[in-house]
Amino acid sequence: MRAFGSFCFDCVKLTLRGKWYYWLWLVVLLSGIGVGVMHYGDQLRTGMVVTHLSDQVNWGLYIANFIFMGGVAAASIVLVIAAILYKREDVSQAALMGVVVALSAVIMSSLYILVDLGRPDRLWHMIPFIGRYNFPYSLLSWDALVLNVYLLFTLWLTGTMLFKNYRGQAQGAPIMRQWVGIAAMVFVIGMVTVEAFLLSGYEARPFWNTAVLAPRFLAAAFVSGPAVIILVLQVVGWFDKQRATAPAIDLLAIIMQAALLFNLFLVGVEMFTHFYTQGEHSISAKYLYFGLKGFGRLVPWIWIAHGLGVVAVCLVLVRALRQRRVLLNIACLLAITEIWIEKTMGLVIPGFIPTSMGEIFEYMPAEAEIFISVGVLSIGLLVFTVLVKIALPIVLGRVRYST
């Protein structure tokens, strides 16, 4: 108990101590949050009319970001799986960083759902037994369940790992229990699948209503998750002069390479079904890739995304290129951008265009949606920053419990 009190005290102390760039970064994040909160206040006061969403395109940037962040959250735990189930001791320190990314991403993911609600004041209606929870029929109820359980899992994992390290019970390693690794594996696949089903479960949207969506989401998650962690490991290493992350980065690069290739393959498979046969399902794809009846706002986005994907694949495929950190980092940035565009402009939005009644009504995010999304991103980054600020000295053994 005393150990826990001292742990909490040390955590606060670590959060409040930092160099000038730490405080500058916090100011940047807080202003991002401020802008987001201001615009969200507008949205609460005047309604969702401040967005560019419509009865035709009723989900947009928020839901796409929710899906993207869900993928990042799920795949960020991949190092835990490697460390525990594949006995890769050399990546176990980096695995903690993955868990911290997962925790921040799952918080962002939940917040993106929250800002998409028309009546967040009635959220209690979703609480099982108190409100009415339409489980298991509603896919959103599955999403809420998975997000909450995953949030608790990552919170518990982060907390336990830090506390054990703090007490000197585990030397930089996470709790290496078999079931944690198995649970992590179930979570990665389960979470991504549930998120894919949220879109693919509607006969009204033939563009989404395909079995390949879940595998595509899994491939995309294993691109974006590792790419984010590769960058994070280096940024954190940069500030902390810690460079023991090379084996983890190499492993992540390999995972990303395979996933990128598989993702492109799945995109190609879908393109075949869309364009070789002409049916209801191919109309949105036509709109997305070539434009329809003079409407084609998404066309440049999707081609740029696939272009970036191809470049990223080339960069990670060739060993000589991959091993140069600068090129690997560029590949990561390209891959993250590709997956993000693919999820927003390439999947969620064209699913609504044309509508099930054949109306073409285009959508581009409004200023408010962009600022609110930036606000949510800032909240996630703030959580992440504070967690890393606490975790690094503890994992590296600089801060320990002393009786």
Partner: protein, 323 residues
């Protein structure tokens, strides 16, 4: 058998559950409600009947703790209706009457539309807007009439924005679309909080006070029949229809989804929906599918009817025909 789908709707298990498990519900959600009443009542200065004047503040607390329609007792529904009527009075300064007519026994409503007669004047749309207190700004319309070139019923080739002044054009047909009241509604499945459900008389309704605005139902609807209140609905005061129903045309708020209810405030009282009355060519037929002498049954038995998007598997109760 053709009618087998409807027996499911008639014996809606949820209705029974509502009566049977009231005690267990009291245990579950009751404390929230009592807390709300306690707070609301206390702040309003003691106990009061539902019809009494309640303050805006105590009403908003009552609103917050209001249960889902299917879980409310008769008294709780009356209290909720009191709050709705007072809110309308405060907002529009009109006295509205909110009804709660239950589904009539032995009735499942169905719709048929004669495409040979529709001239595309959109008078049904106008009547629907007036009857159902739909927002004029931003515009909300339950009925969408599209113009199709003769020779094809491909909705992707339809014109949603044709000019009503010029109809009917000789080489075109006009096709009104609205909620088809599915027997297997994907919107009901999609809602995470059970804010929308299929009533025993075959109408898919929404509890506007329970909806949290996820819009999953809109993504799920193959007929694009659902509408979201992106802003506060605006209706001119003198155009408000004061004859309303809890599950129908009572004033809505922003942030919730709504849809066509076959004019539940009319149809449950034996009247035709407003669009049926308004149609100048008599293209619309509405009635009880379980009554073999009804006009709708005559149409289904004697005309060559078809349903839109049957392949979506929703089993709609809205038929089209040519004659």
């Amino acid at each position: 058998m053709k009618w087998s789908g409807f027996s499911k709707a008639r014996s809606n298990p949820r209705r029974k559950e509502r009566l049977l498990s009231r005690r267990s519900l009291l245990r579950r959600g009751g404390w929230l409600g009592s807390l709300g009443m306690l707070l609301g009542g206390g702040l309003a200065g003691g106990a009061r009947a539902a019809t009494d004047e309640g303050s805006a503040f105590s009403d908003s607390i009552g609103d917050f703790f209001q249960k889902q329609y299917q879980e409310m007792t008769k008294d709780e529904i009356q209290e909720a209706i009191g709050r709705i009527e007072r809110k309308a009075k405060r907002r529009y300064n009109v006295d509205i009457k909110v009804g709660d007519a239950p589904p009539p026994p032995g009735v499942v409503f169905g719709f048929a539309l004669n495409l040979s007669r529709c001239t595309g004047v959109r008078e049904c749309v106008e009547a629907c807007v007036q009857e159902n207190n739909l927002s004029r700004s931003p515009q909300v319309q339950y009925i969408r009439v599209v113009e199709l070139k003769k020779g094809s019923l491909d909705l992707h080739e339809s014109n949603h924005y044709y000019d009503t002044e010029k109809v009917p054009l000789p080489d075109k047909i006009y096709m009104p679309m609205q909620c088809v009241q599915c027997n297997n509604p994907p919107c009901v499945k999609a809602c995470p909080v059970d804010a929308t459900w299929l009533e025993p008389d075959g109408i898919v309704v929404t509890d506007y006070d329970w909806c949290i605005g996820t819009r999953a139902c809109m993504a799920a609807c193959p007929y694009s029949a659902r509408r979201f209140n992106w802003a506060d609905p605006v209706i001119p005061k003198d155009e408000i229809n004061t004859d309303t129903h809890f599950l129908g045309n009572r004033p809505r708020e922003r942030g919730v989804v709504e849809k066509c209810t076959n004019c539940i405030q009319r149809s449950r009282n034996g009247r035709n929906p407003a669009c049926v009355e308004a149609c100048p060519t008599g293209a619309r037929v509405f009635g009880n599918l379980l009554d073999p002498t009804s006009e709708i049954r005559y149409v289904l038995d004697n005309k060559r009817v078809f349903r839109l998007k049957e392949e979506a598997g929703c089993d709609p109760k809205f038929w089209y025909y040519f004659d």
